[in-house]
């Protein structure tokens, strides 16, 4: 929904106040598409974006995100989304964004009295129940992400919010985070004469929030149909960039339009290297060790962290410090833009229950003492707070430092898992041995691109899976791993098994019996059983390696187990029952 331009005439955006943002503006021409879109939607180009004209591609990235999330009426209307942005800006004490969204809502027809009531206490502002529920959800997510849990979404659902509605609300909260970080980072000057608004009261109750129990938040919160990277270009791009499609994107498949925008934003910010290097941006976006970094890169990360966690203390002197460390204006601006993008994906992860793959280093702790005071050591969110130590990290580092023999150690550690995964997909032990060479050579070739976002073992299983699928394609004997769950499988041989099946056969006979049973399973079930039950890979890691969502991989595991049970049953049912008719359920 665009704003009627006539209604803007009475406003005097504060362009002539003499104040400057931290970055100089340059002329990008009157046809620069993001600016024409902002003019149509806000009635003017907010200074937040004019302050970034030195690097127009980051403005394009931001406009690509803002357009579907904010400007398009979908499950939530533009005014509802502006309300979310308003309330979150107030709760996070961001005067620039508060003014921007306050004035936008005024132009959309809201009175100052009503807006003041929403900012101060939305629950007493006589809003529609849906809007109140959306604000409650996003306020919790945007101000207290450590205690945000599946329970918050269940509560929102119980108040009538559909999954599409919740997804848009979470995206809008993430957009608020992006805009707040950006406006702080570029030192955006208010577009309007700042207006005093009473402080909100609803944030006072945050200390009473409980932390979710360990394990409570595992798995995606919303329905997320599977999308195949081979048929969906944004996923193919993300897979190319990150090795597999990160969970935060697979959690949004309800609305592919957002995924297209996010992939575009990542392409525009992360891929070009005319400002910061790819490695510098990945460290901001994805986290990682600071141990061996140059002093200037540590300074860069330090500023990014401060911007993300301590907006109240961030100032022009932080920008100046980067200049003194040798960074040029474009590089500093890109640091701000990348940090805001990291914060966007970070909040999305929390809101959607995606396993953390954008664990920017600052997200585990809030610096403000008021929030830190209620961070219980035992109750912290699993996500972001503590990344599991990768047992292969040191070995990988040695290989990257030139110690090739350490690669042999990595192979020895993972040869069984790689072999079993290949057997699981290819269904042929001889071919699996042959494919091991391809797999490990690919892993070696791409090791420099392994940044430790996932465990090395998960990354290696992804490479193994892709290698095997490629082989299946080459021999045109594609037994699809991507088919959807077909007809309901119903167990038929439901007769009691003997108490100790393993006493009936020798170990070699038993192994042969089960291996044959596993090999006869369709590939899509076989590989899941091998990764989950034989290799004991965590559910999330196996799902990521296979490009499946959690519900899909669980459905395949259940079916694979039941089919294997069925195949083995004739060998293990109690002797006196053999020959009797099975029970069908």
């Amino acid at each position: 929904m665009g704003l009627p331009l006539d209604s803007v005439r009475g406003y005097s955006p504060n362009r002539d106040g003499g104040q400057m943002s931290y970055f100089r503006e340059i002329d990008v021409g009157s046809t620069f598409r993001p600016f024409t879109a902002f003019c149509e939607q806000f009635g003017f180009v907010p200074s937040l974006f004019r302050a970034q004209t030195l690097l127009s591609r980051v403005i394009e990235a931001e406009a690509a995100l803002i357009s579907p999330i904010l400007f398009t009426d979908q499950a939530l209307s533009r005014p509802q989304k502006e309300c979310i942005l308003l309330v979150l800006a107030a709760a996070n004490d961001n005067a620039y964004c508060l003014n921007l969204h306050y004035q936008t809502l005024k132009l959309l027809g809201a009175t100052e009295q009503r807006l003041d009531r929403i900012v101060v206490d939305y629950q007493r502002a006589n809003l529609a129940p849906t809007t109140t529920a959306v604000l409650k959800l996003t306020l919790k997510l945007g101000t207290s992400q450590h205690s945000f849990s599946r329970q918050d979404l269940l509560e929102a659902s119980s108040q009538g919010l559909a999954d599409e509605c919740i997804l848009e609300a979470v995206l809008t909260a993430a957009l608020s985070r992006l805009l707040c970080v950006l406006s702080t980072g570029v030192g955006a000057v208010s577009d309007f004469v700042p207006r005093g608004v009473p402080p909100p009261v609803h944030t006072l109750s945050l200390c009473s929030y409980f932390f979710p129990a360990a394990g409570e938040n595992l798995g995606l919160y919303l329905h997320a149909p599977e999308l195949n990277p081979d048929n969906f270009a944004p996923f193919a791009f993300l897979r190319d960039q990150f090795g597999s499609v990160p969970n935060v994107f697979r959690a949004q498949t309800l609305r592919p339009i957002f995924l297209e925008a996010e992939a575009f934003a990542i392409r525009s910010v992360l891929v070009p290297e005319d400002g910061l290097t790819r490695a510098q941006k990945e460290r901001i976006l994805l986290g990682g060790s600071h141990g061996k970094l140059a002093e200037s890169d540590r300074a860069l990360l330090g500023v990014a962290e401060k911007l993300a966690t301590d907006a109240a203390e961030f100032s022009g002197s932080d920008i100046q410090a980067l200049r003194q460390n040798g960074f040029n204006e474009e590089q500093i601006l890109e640091t701000v833009a990348t940090t805001s993008l990291a914060c966007f994906f970070n909040l999305l992860q929390v809101g959607l229950g995606a396993e953390p793959e954008f664990p920017a280093p600052w997200t585990g702790e809030q610096r403000t003492s008021a929030k830190k005071a209620h961070l219980s050591s035992s109750g912290q969110r699993l996500t972001f707070v503590a990344q599991a130590v990768d047992p292969d990290a040191e070995c990988v580092a040695r290989v990257l430092a030139g110690d090739l023999e350490s690669f042999e150690e990595l192979m020895n550690r993972h040869s069984q898992r790689v072999y079993r995964t290949l057997v699981g997909i290819l269904g042929n032990p001889d071919e699996a041995r042959d494919a091991m060479q391809d797999t490990f050579l690919k892993a070696f070739q791409h090791l420099a691109g392994f940044e430790g976002r996932a465990r090395f073992s998960t990354w290696l299983v992804s490479i193994t899976t892709n290698t095997a699928i490629q082989r299946l394609r080459e021999r045109r004997q594609m037994e699809s791993l991507d088919e959807t769950f077909d007809e309901q499988f119903r167990p038929r041989e439901v007769q009691a098994w003997t108490d100790d099946p393993e006493r009936l056969y020798s170990r070699a006979e038993m192994r042969s019996l089960i291996e044959n049973g596993v090999m006869r399973l369709p590939a899509k079930y076989r590989v899941v059983l091998i990764l989950l039950d034989l290799e004991q890979l965590p559910l999330e890691e196996a799902a990521a390696a296979l490009g499946l969502g959690i519900p899909a991989i669980k459905a395949r595991r259940l079916r694979g187990r039941l089919m294997l049970r069925e195949a083995l049953a004739p060998h293990f049912i109690q002797p006196e029952r053999k020959g009797t008719k099975g029970v069908t359920i």
Binding site: Q416, P491, V518, V583
Partner: protein, 80 residues
Amino acid sequence: MINCADFVAELDNYLDGDVAAAVRVQLEHHIAHCKTCTVLVDSTRKTLKILTENGLFDLPREAFEPIAEEIMARVRTKEK
């Protein structure tokens, strides 16, 4: 009250101990009265036991060594 189809849908989660307490009570109430599902739980549990405890698809050390040597030879060549 849950029926057998409901029970089968939750079987995996039940075997992996991944069900909420309230659901577990319902599932256990069901198998206490359903012989078929009792057999299904027992036989699936045994399937998982023999699946995981028999060293399936092991690649013997002596089979992997020549593969590893070949890979390392190519790795060293690539690095030169």
